[in-house]
């Protein structure tokens, strides 16, 4: 029974959202506002039950002395962060926000270096390991093309330039030439990604329509 109700409700919301294809209308706005409210409530629930309770409240109540002592700092910061709810006391949330920014900066830096720069640099060199490759020539050619794509794409984003006598800002000829090639690679990559996004969206559309038809026994 509940499945049926859920199916009907889901059907209605799907129709309301798809009505946006005809034009912006109140059904769409209604569905969106209900959805935004419901998803916010859902995420808040998850945060309370799966973060605040197990990470903070339960250890404070049931944890050892050491755990409680360790939790004093996050507890203070937690309370300070809650001060941001009130515009008057918002300034007190500074330290908590500062903590998040500092942690975020560190995560961003380490993520960029350890997660992307080093692994991707290594991966770019991988195809050139022709000694341990069954098809060295093909791999080398593909590797070279990929390397050219990677290098020229990086060059394309070069920001530094010099000011010409006529006041215009230009990059030097070599950089411009490489950047032009890089621009093609960037466009090509974005084109492939765009096709991927479209594929995902189309699958979602098919899944939605399929669910609508399923309700009518198709």
């Amino acid at each position: 029974m509940s499945d049926f109700i859920v199916g009907i409700v889901g059907f209605l919301f799907t129709i309301m959202i798809l009505s946006y294809l005809i034009g912006d209308n109140f059904l769409f706005r209604l569905a969106v506002h209900i959805f935004v409210g419901a998803s916010a409530g859902y995420v808040a629930t998850v945060a309370i039950h799966q973060v605040i309770m197990p990470y903070l409240i339960v250890p404070l109540i049931q944890g050892s002395m050491k755990e409680r002592t360790l939790l004093a700092i996050p507890l203070i910061l937690f309370v300070l962060m809650l001060m941001k709810i009130s515009p008057r006391l918002s300034w007190m949330g500074g330290p908590a926000v500062g903590y998040l920014v500092g942690a975020g900066a560190a995560v961003a830096i380490s993520g960029a270096v350890l997660g992307t720069i080093l692994p991707q640099a290594g991966a770019a060199a991988q195809p050139f390991d022709w000694l341990h490759n069954p098809n060295p020539l093909g791999t080398l050619i593909n590797g070279a093309i990929m390397l050219v794509g990677t290098v020229t794409t990086l060059v394309y984003f070069q920001f530094g330039a010099h000011r010409a006598e006529d006041g215009s800002v230009k990059r030097n000829a070599l950089v411009e030439a490489l950047a032009w090639v890089g621009r093609l690679f960037v466009a090509l990559t974005l084109g492939v990604l765009f096709a991927g996004v479209f594929s995902a969206a189309l699958t979602a559309l098919i899944e939605r329509i399929n669910s609508l038809l399923a309700l009518f026994g198709f």
Binding site: H33, S39, V97, G104, A125, V155, F157, R163, T189, V197
Partner: protein, 246 residues
């Protein structure tokens, strides 16, 4: 081994950034022209002149993820744009999809208003959390983009493909869109749907192009130096790999 190299890289980048920031230059460094930033500057000016609103959407990148860098960059941009448009009849409205970033957007806006000398005009609710999931954020931000008097939508930060909903809403309202995203799929969507998309790392250049803060310009210069180091590294690594030395 990786950690050592990473540490060396970070130290080098940090020293470079510090050196370039503290360096006294006769004339500011010149950077290539990026049309989207020219448009953004113009849009900010026009918003003040014709009393329209600027909608700045800074994405949903959590600070505790690498995507947080996009949010930090968007906040730096917000500071510049907020300062330029704070005196508008209709002050800018900021939406975000991460609660911590939303809180930061309020602080940033407040700082921008203070810098512009109109602290009294600041309204905490002008920095709002529009949703807690990517699509609820986008759907709610669509509502803001549809809002009357929004002449320009600045979508800069961490988005996914849901950003297409925002560009669609903006286009239906005939509002200008200046957009940049860290996620490549979002970049692809923006490339197709925004008049002046920013691609790749151009997102991180936004603060330098919109303001004259030496540290922002220095970070772009540092980025360029690191870029060429990286290119050199890639070529050397490929050569060594071919030689079987790596």
């Amino acid at each position: 081994m990786n950690q050592i190299i990473a540490l060396a890289l970070v130290l080098f980048a940090a020293l470079l950034l510090l050196a370039l920031s503290l360096r006294k230059r006769k004339s500011p460094a010149a950077f290539r022209e990026i049309a989207a930033f020219a448009r953004l500057r113009r849009a900010a000016g026009l918003a003040v002149e014709d009393g329209t609103r600027l909608h700045v959407s800074i994405g949903r990148g959590s600070l505790l993820s690498p995507r947080g860098a996009a949010s930090l960059s968007a906040l730096a941009l917000l500071r510049q744009v907020g300062e330029q448009t704070s005196t508008s009849d209709r002050p800018p409205v900021v939406t975000s999809g991460d609660p911590a970033v939303a809180a930061l957007s309020q602080d940033t806006l407040q700082a921008a208003y203070q810098a512009a000398g109109v602290a009294e005009l600041f309204q905490p609710n002008s920095g709002k959390l529009s949703g807690l999931t990517p699509f609820s954020y986008a759907a709610s931000a669509m509502d803001v983009a549809r809002q009357e008097y929004v002449s320009t939508n600045v979508l800069v930060g961490d988005f996914g493909s849901e950003v297409a909903l925002l560009t669609e809403a903006s286009e239906r309202e005939h509002a200008t869109i200046v957009a940049a995203a860290a996620d490549p799929s979002a970049q692809a969507v923006l490339f197709a749907s925004a008049a002046e998309p920013l691609v790749g790392e151009e997102l991180f250049a936004a603060p330098a192009y919109m303001g004259a803060d030496p540290s922002h310009r220095a970070s772009l210069q540092a980025q360029d130096v690191m870029r060429w180091l990286l290119i050199l590294g890639l070529l050397v690594a490929a050569a060594l790999k071919m030689a079987g030395a790596l």
